[in-house]
Symmetry: C2
Subunit: 249 residues, 2 copies
DNA sequence: ACCTGAACACCGTTCAAGT
DNA sequence: ACCTGAACACCGTTCAAGT
């Protein structure tokens, strides 16, 4: 059945307001959904609807959902505030600035923590950050391969702290408190009495505080260790650890 | 239509060979699929089929798929070889033993790395390992909260090293070589010439070797840092870092 | 060049019904 | 107590067809 009445005014324009769908806009909308509703809630159909387009239209701009998620993840690498890195005065300030900025960016977009375990991080923003770190760790005195090893050590530590924390908070729908963990301990019917007592006596009530303390402790360790590497490098030149035949230290 | 012929012999027994479906068996089968085909390939239907049962039968034994994955993940915490931890002589041996065992367990079950970012790790095996670490770090000389902070620092570092590595290898379908990374660098049309030269001159051809070097470098840093914490503790008692009001070191 | 709609081959989960 | 099958409300992705 054809339209019974038709004119320029009733006919919808060739490319309606939703036109101009482009990659940048799609990624922006995807991140909005991810921030608002989380990783599991993002579907191509929902994203299409949010953009006033069919789900399948997206496939003109991205090859598949994984590619879209890669683009979104790269934006998070770009969201790490690295403006202060090159102004950092000394290793301590560099570590503190980078580690907290990186942690902050991940916590602000919790879905990114899960993606890091699933997708490679080889986008332009990831490399931009790597380049910034290269220069900052070079300014701090590292030479040769040690530049990358040092920044990689800090990056690993931050990821390892944040990723399980986010999984925990997602599962409990918010900060986990000491009592919840202790209750699980009790239900295991194994004698963890010392651990239980330690939790009771030593752990802060709020797990967010506990995590912050652990984060600072680890950073202090890294600071000492990296300073020792710097000293060793000054006396013997930029040398690097190599694993022996057993693969152990 | 009823059966036309029926006897004890034609009638199938009450609970056929597939019976006795229990949680342990289900988790074992799930891990088999995960190891063989990866995280994305596990579906409740496929798991049911593997067990000779309907997909929906599984829901009697586990509340949902996430719970099943939690059970599978806990098994990996249990797969970390911790028999040698209590025999470790000194901090260096403890770090080396634990870090390599932990890394090995994760690499042997790559799907577990992605799950750590998605599910909480509060099962019996996770706690068992925590308890083992508590004792080992206590034997190494740590006291009070520092016991947990020290082991947590090492755990974070290992996770942060392994999780992105696994994502990378999954994306490339195997070990990533130096050339692939350099090719991406070239395509970004930003001047990363120094980084490119460093990759060319300093990075091992095989990324697995590069990762092992980074892992050892980080462990050495942690060793130095943790030893410094031990010394500080001996002179002033088990004190702990506390973040100042800005949340920085 | 870009978008649509129908269609395909899947998902996780619920629930009434069976034994 | 444990399992089944049908059904529901979704998925990601392909592809011929439209403009």
């Amino acid at each position: 059945m054809a339209d019974q009445f038709s004119s320029v005014w009733t006919r919808t324009p060739r490319r309606p307001r939703t036109s101009g769908l482009d990659r940048e806009q799609i990624v922006r909308a995807a991140i909005a959904i991810l921030d608002r509703e989380g990783l599991d809630a993002l579907s191509m159909r929902k994203l299409g609807a949010e953009l006033g387009a069919g789900a399948t239209s997206l496939y003109w701009h991205v090859a598949n959902k994984n590619e879209l998620l890669e683009l979104a993840l790269d934006e998070i690498w770009g969201a790490v505030d690295d403006a202060g890195l090159e102004r950092a005065d000394g290793l301590r300030e560099l570590l503190s600035t980078f580690a907290y900025n990186f942690r902050g960016a991940l916590l602000a977009h919790p879905w990114s923590a899960a993606l890091i375990g699933r997708l490679p991080s080889v986008g332009p923003q990831a490399f931009r950050l790597t380049e910034r770190l290269r220069r900052a760790f070079g300014d701090a005195g590292f030479r040769g391969l040690d530049v990358y090893l040092a920044s990689g050590t800090v990056t690993s530590f931050v990821l390892g702290q944040v990723i399980p924390l986010i999984a925990m908070e997602k599962a409990y729908g918010g900060p986990v408190d000491r009592g919840q963990v202790m209750q699980i301990l009790d239900e295991l019917s194994v004698d963890y009495s010392q651990m239980r007592a330690d939790y009771h006596d030593l752990m802060p009530e709020d797990s967010a505080v506990g995590n912050a303390i652990g984060f600072d402790f680890g950073l202090l360790c890294l600071l000492d260790g990296l300073e020792a590497r710097l000293r060793a490098q000054r006396s013997t030149g930029p040398a690097t650890v190599v694993a022996d035949e057993t693969g152990r230290l």
